[in-house]
Symmetry: C2
Subunit: 625 residues, 2 copies
Amino acid sequence: MQADTLFTRASHYNVFLKQWMITDIAVLRGKILFVGDAGSVGITADEIVDCEERPLIPGLIDIHLHIESSLCIPAVFADAVLQHGVTTIVSEPHEIANVFGMEGIAAMITASKHASADIFYGLPSSVPSTHSRMETTGGSIDVAEAEELIGRFNNIICLGEVMNYSELSANFDRLAAGDMESKSFRLVQYMQNTMPLAAIEGHCPTVRGLELAKLLYLGIDSDHCLQDLEGMKDRLANGMFVELQEKSIRKDIIEYLETHDFSGRYSFVTDDVPPDILAAKGHVDHIVRLAMKEGLSLENVILASSYAPAARMGFRDRGLLAPGKLADMVLLQDTSSDFSIKAVFKSGRRCEAADSAEKHAEKYEEKREGLASPGSRKEPSFPLHFYSSINLNASFSIKKALSLRIPDNKPPASQVSVRIIRKNKENTYTESAIRTLRMVDREVLWNHPDGSDHLDGSDHLDESDHPELEPKLNLAVVIERYTGNSGFSQGLLEGDVLTNGAFCSTYAHDHHNILIVGDNTADMESAFTWVYANKGGICVASGGAVIAAVHLPIAGILSEKPIPSLAEDVESVQSALRALGIAHQNPIMTLATITLPVSPDLKLTDKGLVDVQAAELVESFLFQE
Amino acid sequence: MQADTLFTRASHYNVFLKQWMITDIAVLRGKILFVGDAGSVGITADEIVDCEERPLIPGLIDIHLHIESSLCIPAVFADAVLQHGVTTIVSEPHEIANVFGMEGIAAMITASKHASADIFYGLPSSVPSTHSRMETTGGSIDVAEAEELIGRFNNIICLGEVMNYSELSANFDRLAAGDMESKSFRLVQYMQNTMPLAAIEGHCPTVRGLELAKLLYLGIDSDHCLQDLEGMKDRLANGMFVELQEKSIRKDIIEYLETHDFSGRYSFVTDDVPPDILAAKGHVDHIVRLAMKEGLSLENVILASSYAPAARMGFRDRGLLAPGKLADMVLLQDTSSDFSIKAVFKSGRRCEAADSAEKHAEKYEEKREGLASPGSRKEPSFPLHFYSSINLNASFSIKKALSLRIPDNKPPASQVSVRIIRKNKENTYTESAIRTLRMVDREVLWNHPDGSDHLDGSDHLDESDHPELEPKLNLAVVIERYTGNSGFSQGLLEGDVLTNGAFCSTYAHDHHNILIVGDNTADMESAFTWVYANKGGICVASGGAVIAAVHLPIAGILSEKPIPSLAEDVESVQSALRALGIAHQNPIMTLATITLPVSPDLKLTDKGLVDVQAAELVESFLFQE
């Protein structure tokens, strides 16, 4: 019989037989028809692809990521990851849901309709990530929204990461007894009842033993957070599916996986990949290379990058090279740990890298035109109002937002104790410190050269641990951009902070209000002004001028630019932030997560300072009663 | 913390670590909370079950069976299999769908609501098993019916076995190109589109190589038919899930599975278990015992009876003993191949055998009362009209149906060539033979002592292969019972047939019209009269009197009796049939599948003789032109 394409002399690993074989793979209408000696069963084909005995492996599958983290639209993202062998992704539109709620999710799914890779979606379970009393978002997702979205889109296939693991664990008895409600758990139960075959994705860093068992009991049975060896063993032994990010690729982890038979129980996921990293290092293939360098065999790589994630999600049409499966395939140069990709085939069709970059550059120009002249037939990717997502009150004063003062009902004094966010350069966790600052007429002199000279009663602070720490402070301001009320909050940062400049972003986890950080109000105002005028983006100002920026016109978090150009913009911002003193390897992220109220210990939302472990707002100023 | 039950000193096999351990298992509200040292994490419980270091394994899961084959209602079936450690089943209500269509499926699902084991359903894909021109059924299932049923019942979780594998394979090119429709393939595509996470169950005996690949290509990726070693290897290597019935448990099969690592890729299924076998031998546990006797390790038994079938169906809440999974557990006496069950726990609750048998005996009496006085509050299990499922025309004459005559438009002659169904005693496949029989006045003398003396031109017949075969004939008559037209067809059987008696049944695969078989018309009429008067059942008559019967009042295929009593009735029929000469180990089945037009080679439906391979009706009488 006649096939469309015959891949000959493919080096194919049969995951069931656990054997490599040189074989033919016949493809018909995008699916694999036959694996074996095609001649012996009389299969001929219109097109022959000679694999020259190189490994032909299933397309890579990434079941946990957020497209928005790459700041691009789904079609651009799909083309970009396809070049890296990724043929199927499950994205959780958590960020855009924080900006536009259900409508944001629907727009994201609609915008991925004709993407070149297969994009499935997880239903965001944690929008907002905490509560409306702790942060203001542009929408929230509860059962009613879930019901409508699932009814409308059949590519929503799982519940996205349940983030409030500490709340669930702390209230386990009441939740298990049905005596208490939690939005994320309500969504878990809704999914279990209406889509019992769908995965419930988890997020449970460092949780162990009985606390881990409680989360499993509640139905949350995967974890994509940073793994240590003992924690990972605990997860695997208790039936939790483990999703390995780049940061979890460590020698001891890989050695354990390679020497035990957990194939099918773990996979690689990228979670958040900024466009500059995507352009420079790659995607799942990058993690695979790291894992192989640490000793993971190609056989286990194949299982962890295709069979296991497909099984986890319940995909029946992909995840291995066998009759009936999609002809999503990656031709490798060889079996070495370089994991060098020679060609990628999506549904049997070869993907051309050059075409894709050009195509998106053209489309981007078309879309700009479309936006400029709304009558034009060149439609933008998202609904028009997504391009005007910053809603500030006409009476909003940026100068007032940038002035740090104690409340008017407090007596003026010469100094005040302030709770300060201690940022570090290693990760995105912060600590809390108390410092005493000088005041003049209720105004706190946070950026005065002498402002932080008078250290007093500082908690947790052990200078000997961090001899590099400067007593340098930054002001952080978060301005609510959804309701039109334009409420704002202020906080102070120390540690890995800016010098002689400012940063402003509408991409600020997870609520994506406007974040401004800087060591002087002039630059802070400049950065804010650029972001506001451009209706969204990330901006760095120094010396009173904008020195780098990424324009994010869609919901304030996405661009329509192709990845190479977007990566350049992002790299310019990263460089600028590094030049202004940020030591963390991902300066944008370390700043944009200052506002994330589910990441320990002390964070700042538009509602104020959040003590993350206590899940409570706390005061900035500590007055003696 | 406080659990409901603590199973202590359980010998537990962790399928991921591949290790046995003595441990505690804590259960809360029917689910497992914790596996490990309960004391070390402060878990106490209201009830302690000391497992005395015996194996505590997950409840057995059977993903392919038809409850109707056990002739009982779902609640009775669930209680019966639970005694054998089976806590979850996936039943395909194929038989009742042939009688009452969509309404039959809905009634079956409704009747299983409060069953003691968890009953899920497969959507029957092959009702009718062929076409309305080849058999008359009481309903048919196509996309519209699928849509309504799936919308209504969330426990329909897969597409039941696609039976017309030879048709699909023969028309592959056109089906793959979308140039041809087939009802079962339409249902496959419907499921793939609307329930992409649902399994598509297959039925593809003896298919190999490219033909097997074609079925996989079309989405059918399991097989529960009789396996031989090479065929099973072909299936496993190509990603097909293998479901092992009792008949597939053979030394070479088990040896291969035990020495290769296919755990997770095969399971045990019972398909059809008559009530007498269920009572005498057991259920999945019986197959497990056979497999263990052939050398399958308890570790592989655990995988094949719980983890693998759960994974195949996509169940996320069962299939292993781990936090969050249902506390469906079987306590074994020891690790020996006796697989002796000491206790069964469904959702943490111990199942009591004695209670169950008594309970059903009581309920049965109640239901009989309820039927006798429709005003009573004791409701029958099924809608009332299910108890009146035989619809014959007032003018129907049983005498005419039992008289075998050539058509009136044919000239009378002294003899006629007749196509005969050759039944054997080993399996349910038949062969076709041609015999020349004497006639008097257009009436064929099939049961005349000399009737079959004149052998002539017999096909396929090799007496030396079957020296035991008697030239004895039975008449088989199939009377259509749904439309009121009461059409009937006639055929002749030889081989493993009845002597001095007759059999009549409304349980006749798959269409369940009325089948009558016998070597004399007097007994055939007696058997028919009993079945008709009792509105359904299986009856054996000999010497002009009924000698054994099973009453099947619901749809003509189900009884409300508890298993022990039903098993007695069935055993009496089996014994009677054996006494009348049937040598096949399951006399009822060998007779009831004479009417199955998807089982090779020659079968008889109400429409006439069916050449199964050709999927065509063929003439009984062969006249010289």
